[in-house]
Each structure stands twice: as C-alpha cells, then as structure tokens.
Amino acid sequence: MKPAISIIRSSAGASPVAIALGLAVLAGLFLFPQFVQSPYALHIMILIFLSVIMGEAWNVIGGYTGQYSVGHAAYFGAGAYTTMILLQYKQISPWYGALAGIAVSLVVSLIIGSICFRLRGPYFVLASIAVAEIMRLSAMNLKDLTNGAEGILITEIPHLKFGDTLITDFLTKVPFYYIGLVIAIVTILVTWLMQNSKLGYYFQAIREDQDAAHSLGISLSLFKSSALAISAVFTSLAGSFYAIYIGFIDPPTVLALDISVQIVLICIIGGIGTIWGPVVGALVLVPLSEALRSNMIAQGIFKIGLASEESGVGIFLKEHLSHAHALIYGILVVVVILFMPDGVLGWAKKLAAKKGKE
C-alpha cells in the first residue's frame, strides 16, 4: 500500500509554483472587468461566485461535518428576505440588511440545529427539508411581511457612499462582480482557516464517526451547531447578495427545495469535503447549464461539422436539444454520481495518481 496523504494535509504546505499560480489567477480575477466589458460574461462570473459561496458554505456542514442538509434554501431565503424586507419597507441599506440577514439565519440555524441534530442519516436529511419547506410555505402565507407569492421587487438600490464620496451607484455589473468575488474569496479563506484548525479536525471526526468523536471529548451539539452556524452565515450572505443583484425575490426563487438540491449538487459534482471541490463544482455547473440552456451545444456541433444543420440529426438537435437541457443535466448528474463518486476533483486526483504510477 502506498502511504496516502490525508485529505486534510493535501492542501496545506503548497508548493511555490502553486502559490505563484494562485496569485496570478487572483490578479486575473481582479483585473477581469477591466478587460471584459460584456455584461453577459460578467453575469456568468457573478453566478459562478454565488455558486462558489453557496457551495463552500454547504461544504462546511455537509462536506466536513457530514450532516447532509438538503434544506439550505432556508438560510439563503432568510438572508434574501431579511435584506429585501428591510430595504423595501424600512429603507435600510442592504449592507446592514445583509448583517441582519446573518443574524436571522443564525437564529434559524440554532432552531434547525436543535431540531435536526438529534437525528441521524436519512432522518436528518428529511428534517432539514421539512424545516426549509415550512419556511417556504410561511413566506408564501405571511403576506403582510413577505408580500406572499407576489414577491418583493426593489425599485432602487441605495448608492454606496463612504462619507460623502460616492463609491458606486450599482449601475453596472462591475460592483456586483467585485462584491461577489470578495465574498467568495472570504468564504474560501474561512474554509481554509477552519480546515487547518481544531474545528476542521473536530468537524471531520464527527463526519467519520459521531460516537467515536463523542468519546474523544467532542461535544456533538456544540460543534455541529458551530458548523451549521458558519454554513448558515455564508449561505445567508449569498442570499442577500442574490436578492440585491437580481432585485426581485419570491418564495419559489429563494426558498424552494430546488435551491437546496442545487447547492448540494455543486459540492458533490466538484468533490465533497475539500476546499476546491465547490469551486470546481461551480466552474463546471454554471457554464454547463448555461451552455445547455442556450443551446450552445447544438451550435457547437454544427460549427465543428459533426452534423450539418439541415440534416435530420441537425434538425432534431435544434428542435429538441433546447427542450432537453434539463434532461441532459439529469443524465450528467447520474453519470457523475455513478462514475465519479468523489466528484470531478476526486476523479482528477485519481487520474493524476494513476498517471504518476505509470
């Protein structure tokens, strides 16, 4: 048996080359809007950042601590709703709104934790779904607070000012790009710090074996709640950011089961319980679903000449592929789960290890 290096330590102690490369990527990300003006490209990047934030956040509780919450829409929605309600009805700036959202999400996480953490395995999963569904239905029915199914539309985002100097008026996508980028980086950083601390060890011990962890002096309720709290904070932040960026929320778009599943998917596709897994997941999923949705695949096939546009195959592709993107997405999910159970990142690592052996 080859001495395998633990997952924990694989990303610590990076080589100078990797650090240099990382810095270059970072610089590139910060300079990106200087070179690319296309709002469409910026929009896709912002969606990627959002996915990274949500994925990393879920990863803390799901990937590291092993509590597979399929109800993270609860925190996403709590952040989004708190921010929007405060902004639209109380004219409170989204910056404070996001903080208030975090506070609300923390309370929600404590409630959910106290209910769900007594349960294990499938029961935990189902309870997390149930709580999120209760929140969605409540948002639907508490019309005075949330405007129910009609949702909340913001008409204007207050300008960001420092003293009297205007920093940004949010007229273009660039400020959103930077806010998203910074939150994403902070999220990754926090995950890294968490991983390289006692918390990281304890979270993973809980994931591997709750009873054994318990016997080694780890308070399950304390550390599970901490993990959920960290997770909730960033998911809520993502929700607030989403709400302000899109400018409209309603229960189906921020509190649906769909969102919870999407969040889990980012991590599983990328690779669960690793720092870069959710990043890879976001980088794969966002562009992929965009490409599938806008039928770029069919057009790509025509471009490289695999099929002519007028042939029977071509007509079929054009007519049906745009309707079938959700189907293809489903097929991809199944294929990844069956053949890359450790996600794209795990699969790539295995491949690299194999190459190394040869």
Partner: protein
C-alpha cells in the same frame, strides 16, 4: 436563430419571386420553455412561431433569438444580457411576472425595447421604464371586469375567494379585494391553495358554509376543472362562479360541460371576439399545433408581430424601434393596440378585457355589451 435559417432555406427553395429582401432583423424572445411554467410557455412559443411566419409573408425577415429562462428570474437575466450583447433590435417576453420584472430593469439599462406579451403583474409598467412596453392588461383588470359584470347582472352582497398561491393568483385577488371594498361587497372567505393539491373538498365545504353570492376563483386549467368538479360534488351554489383568468378560459375547461356551463371568466383574448383576424388565427393555430390557442398564444403572436414590424421598419435600430412602439398603433387579433401613459402606468396598452360565459360548452362574450355575442345567464342554475 437556426430555426429561421431553415425557414429561409425553405423559402428560397419555393422561390417566391419579387419578395422584399430586407436584411433580417434580430429579435429576442425570452420564454419559459422548460421548468414548472413550461406548460404555458409552450403556448407563447407557438404564438411567436406563427407570428414569424406571418411576418415573412409580409416580407419582414426576422432572425429570432430564442432563450429559455426556465421560469427563473436570474436565468432570464442571463438571457437578456446575452441578447443585449448580440445586438437584438428588441425583445419579446418573458412570460412570468417574476422574470419580466427582473428583465425589465435590464432592458432599461441596456436600452433594449422590451415588449411584455402576457405577464400580469402591475408593477412591470409602473416603474416609469421607458423601454418597457406591455401588450396585455395588468392584473387589476381581471378582477374589476368580472366584478363589474356581476354588479350589472345582480346585487351580490358577499364574495368568497379561492385561488392559486402564485404571483398571478395572489395579485389578482389582491386587486379584487380592493375593488370589492369600493363596491361594498363583503368578503366571507379567503382561501389560497398551492398548486398540486388533489383535494379541495374541505375548503369548498367551508366556503359553502358561508353561502356566498359570488365565488371568485383564480386557477390554471387543471385546478379549474377540479375546483368546479368538486364544487358540484359538494353542492356549492352561489349566484355566479367567476373565473379570474387562466384556466377558466381554456377550451379544455369548456369541454367539461357538466361542470363548466354558466361559469363566467375573463380573458385577454378569445376567438369569437370581433377583433380582426381572431377567428383566422384560431383556425390556423389549431391546424398547425393540433390544439386551440390560449390568450397567451394570441398575446405572444401579436406582440411578436408588433415588435417585428416596428423593428424592421426602423432598420433594427433600438432607439427608433422604441420610438416606433411609443408612437405607433395597431389593429389586430388583440383589437386596438396603443402604448400609453396613464394612472401611473407607462407604455401600457389599454387592453379591453372580455367577460365570457360558457353556454352549451361554448365560450360566449357577454361583456362589454358592444362585443357581446350572447346574453348572460344569471343567476347560476341549480346543479343537476
């Protein structure tokens, strides 16, 4: 886009001589092709497909850029950004209110004329956006036209609401509540349900206990049928059933004559109205797609016609197209169309809602009287 290329080739092979050969004008179309809104989205797609064909017959070449928003606002925004970057002259869509709302602000930002065909939320054209136009009547008209009709026919004192817990359902009922308050009608029940509940019997028996004069429902077709079936089972017997749009105006609903006869509904469009080309549109649509067009299809069809003609006339220039939409007026299957500013609305077509009643399995226009094809039957006859 590709679909149009194909059409172009077909046209070329037919070799119609003397056809005007202007460069095709790019028009975006954002719609819910997949996702939970897809059942309705399909009607819009079909309507637009027919509009493109009809435009071609008139010599207007449109390069259609179709985008699926899957019913999600953030995706519809992606679609809009993409279209704006691809130099479209204008955009028709999106279908849902949530998406239309999200996209409308982008349209303003990128100065792309947006023509919303069928989203009902009032706010969309109440934000003072210069580039956003809407063809259909907003949600408040659904309720007011029906209640006005009821007040003409009788003297209802009480009303019960049962409606789908969606944007469309709640906003329609919200305006209805405001309207009945003005007219002095008392609300005795306010029941919303989530789509996909198979059993409304309990709710309906509760409403029956209140014995309301009017029962106002807002539902899509399947729930509309279930609601009426179960109303009959329970023996709910108001003076009139008022169907606020959507499901109650479908042919599928009308076909269920045992339960659908004498139900009132309101719609943006129907085939038997005297607006030019309505019947013809109905027949051609049915022949082409194998089913009757809904008002969504008609709205999308007319919206695409308007956008196509205007954009083409202005050579695909966005500013001129915007101005063209503002100054123009049209006469078509949706009646007279003109985008006006009034009562806090901007660029809103003052569309005339029609009140229909199903009589012997047929939709008959009963209000407003100048469009009426039959006299209304009132009050609702006893269930057999």
């Amino acid at each position: 886009m590709t679909r149009n290329l194909l059409a172009l080739l077909l046209a070329a092979s037919l070799a119609v001589p003397g056809m005007a050969s202007a460069a095709p004008v790019k028009i975006g179309f954002i719609n819910s092709i997949t996702g939970p809104e897809a059942p309705i989205g399909e009607n819009l797609t079909n309507g637009v497909t027919m509009a493109i064909e009809d435009l071609k017959k008139k010599g207007v070449e449109v390069q259609l850029m179709k985008e699926d928003d899957t019913g999600k606002p953030q995706i519809s925004m992606s679609a809009m950004e993409k279209l704006a970057g691809q130099g479209v002259a204008g955009v028709v869509g999106p279908y849902t209110s949530a998406c239309a709302n999200a996209v409308s602000k982008l349209a303003e930002k990128y100065k792309v004329p947006l023509l919303v065909p069928a989203a009902a939320k009032e706010e969309i054209t109440r934000q003072g956006l210069k580039y956003v136009y809407r063809l259909n009547a907003p949600a408040d008209k659904y309720a007011s036209s029906l209640i006005d009709a009821a007040l003409v026919m009788g003297k209802p004192k009480t009303i019960a609401f049962i409606y789908e817990n969606t944007d469309f359902g709640t906003s329609t009922v919200k305006t209805a509540k405001e309207y009945i308050a003005k007219k002095g009608i008392k609300m005795v029940a306010d029941e919303s349900y989530s789509k996909g509940s198979p059993d409304y019997r309990s709710t309906l028996s509760k409403i029956k206990g209140q014995n309301p004069d009017l029962v106002f429902m807002v539902s899509y077709v399947a729930d509309a049928i279930l609601l009426m079936r179960q109303s009959r089972e329970i023996g709910l017997q108001p003076q009139a059933f008022l169907g606020g749009g959507a499901g109650f105006t479908t042919v599928q609903f009308a076909k269920e004559t045992t339960i659908s006869n004498n139900v009132f509904s309101t719609t943006q469009w129907t085939d038997d109205v005297s607006w030019p080309g309505a019947k013809d549109f109905f027949n051609r649509y049915k022949a082409k797609f194998g089913k009757e067009p809904t008002y969504h299809a008609a709205c999308a069809y007319q919206a695409m016609l308007i956008m196509g003609e205007t954009a083409s006339k202005n050579g695909g220039d966005r500013e001129k197209t915007k101005a063209g939409l503002k100054s123009g007026s049209w006469k078509g299957i949706m009646g007279d169309t003109k985008f006006e500013d009034y009562d806090g609305f901007t660029n809103q077509n003052k569309h005339q809602m029609l009140v229909l009643q199903i009589q012997d399995g047929q939709f008959e226009t009963v209000f407003p009287t100048n469009f009426a094809s039959k006299k209304p039957i009132f009050p609702f006859p006893k269930w057999k």
